[in-house]
Chain length 294, copies 2
Amino acid sequence: MIRQTLEKKAALIEKRLDELLGEYCCKGKLCDAMSYSLMAGGKRLRPALCLITAGLFNAENEALDFACCLEMIHTYSLIHDDLPAMDDDTLRRGKPTSHVVYGEGMAILAGDGLLNLAFEVMSDLTANADGDYTARYAKVMSVIAKASGVRGMIAGQAADLEFEGKGNSEEILSYIHDKKTAEMIKASVLCGAMIGGADDVQTERLEQYGKSIGLVFQIIDDILDVSGVEQDLGKSTGKDEAAGKQTFVSLYGIKKSKELAQKETQKAVDALGIFGMDADNLKQLAVYLLSRDR
Amino acid sequence: MIRQTLEKKAALIEKRLDELLGEYCCKGKLCDAMSYSLMAGGKRLRPALCLITAGLFNAENEALDFACCLEMIHTYSLIHDDLPAMDDDTLRRGKPTSHVVYGEGMAILAGDGLLNLAFEVMSDLTANADGDYTARYAKVMSVIAKASGVRGMIAGQAADLEFEGKGNSEEILSYIHDKKTAEMIKASVLCGAMIGGADDVQTERLEQYGKSIGLVFQIIDDILDVSGVEQDLGKSTGKDEAAGKQTFVSLYGIKKSKELAQKETQKAVDALGIFGMDADNLKQLAVYLLSRDR
């Protein structure tokens, strides 16, 4: 059932992403490159988390554009991450990566463009909001900026680059995963809650949920890099080991990694107790993330 | 006199940039790389324009952090512009470029980090502003995001890349210059005016001023690329011709380019008429930009 829900949200998000590109983007190779990566499918997990969480507070409509901005930021990070100077990947979401198709320079600019566009759209949402929503949206933007920034995703990316092939400690592995992946997943949940006007207790529980599924997401990613099928995943596998990267699998083995993921999933589900059946979607999503094979 | 004013503003901006880096940035190579480029000096023209314009409305203090964000965005654009996949420059602000010192991957991330940081700081300013200032700051952020984005600076950069060596028409040259350089210079003036609460007429005049000096800045840049001294400029010269780029000089020659710059400078000065002597700084700055040799 959660699969259908996710598909519906993805369709909603893709329609709106396409509209936003049309509204904000000039014509030309730059916008082709941005659209190529942004409209290439993918799980749309982050925006779906934002929408479903906002849905708990009947605020899905208000959350849609913010959800799209989360996906823009995620996509920009993939484009830059795939560059020859970074992970040097040629396959993403089942298609050749941006720099393979458009060249390195244009891929860098397409990433820059998507990051900037996310903040352009959010600035406009905030500037055009009514009354109390102006301050609320500014706070949402601030949470996203922190998660995607130099104390969040970019810090994780930089640590990943800095410590590659250096036989990382458990501490560094945990830092990289937390920053590079979990922060944005947590922020996706958190900003859905904020847009919906969640109170302090609700916010705290949803934050815990986001933190736990963020960790599960990364553990499963590491397992799939070893055991997944390239065609199913739509991206290259075996890259971590080849690059000498520490992962949950290299550190704990597959069995213990899976146990860890199970434990965190239970924590995520437990955190949602106060919402009762209203949070069934989010609970199912946590279980789905644990069992995903792509 | 304007030189001293600019030096004072630059000192103010550099002090605050350093504080903001300390406040927002984690330790490590990423932040070293961001600081290396951000604190490397430079004219600090964009933030100075923002401060001096806000000063017309006694709003220099309120404008300081936004001014710093303009400089972060400008610096990120230089780091990415200098990358091997783009202009492939090794010298900037008199020092080796970021990728030469930190490697390409880290240079890309340092640029990403500075762009994200600018919006993180502006989001926080907006979220923490009192009353009417929340909406005002959101609008300022929106103006900056548009100028730096895919209908502004990044569009210019992409066109520059796309049409390199293709013998551009006057129309394309004008598009590239307008987007790549003039938009952010105009926005720097405009957001100083907005932060200060300028009325419609004042805003329109300052926008015209910004537009004209933006154009002058680019014309002089092209002239200096041909006739300037590498050591004075702190960056490589002769790059445009080597890359087969159309410039004002290649299109009109030095003499006519200088005349064009003089005409635009006069337009800039004329636009400030309504402000009387209060705008002397901005007028002097326009004349200074015309005569600069670095």
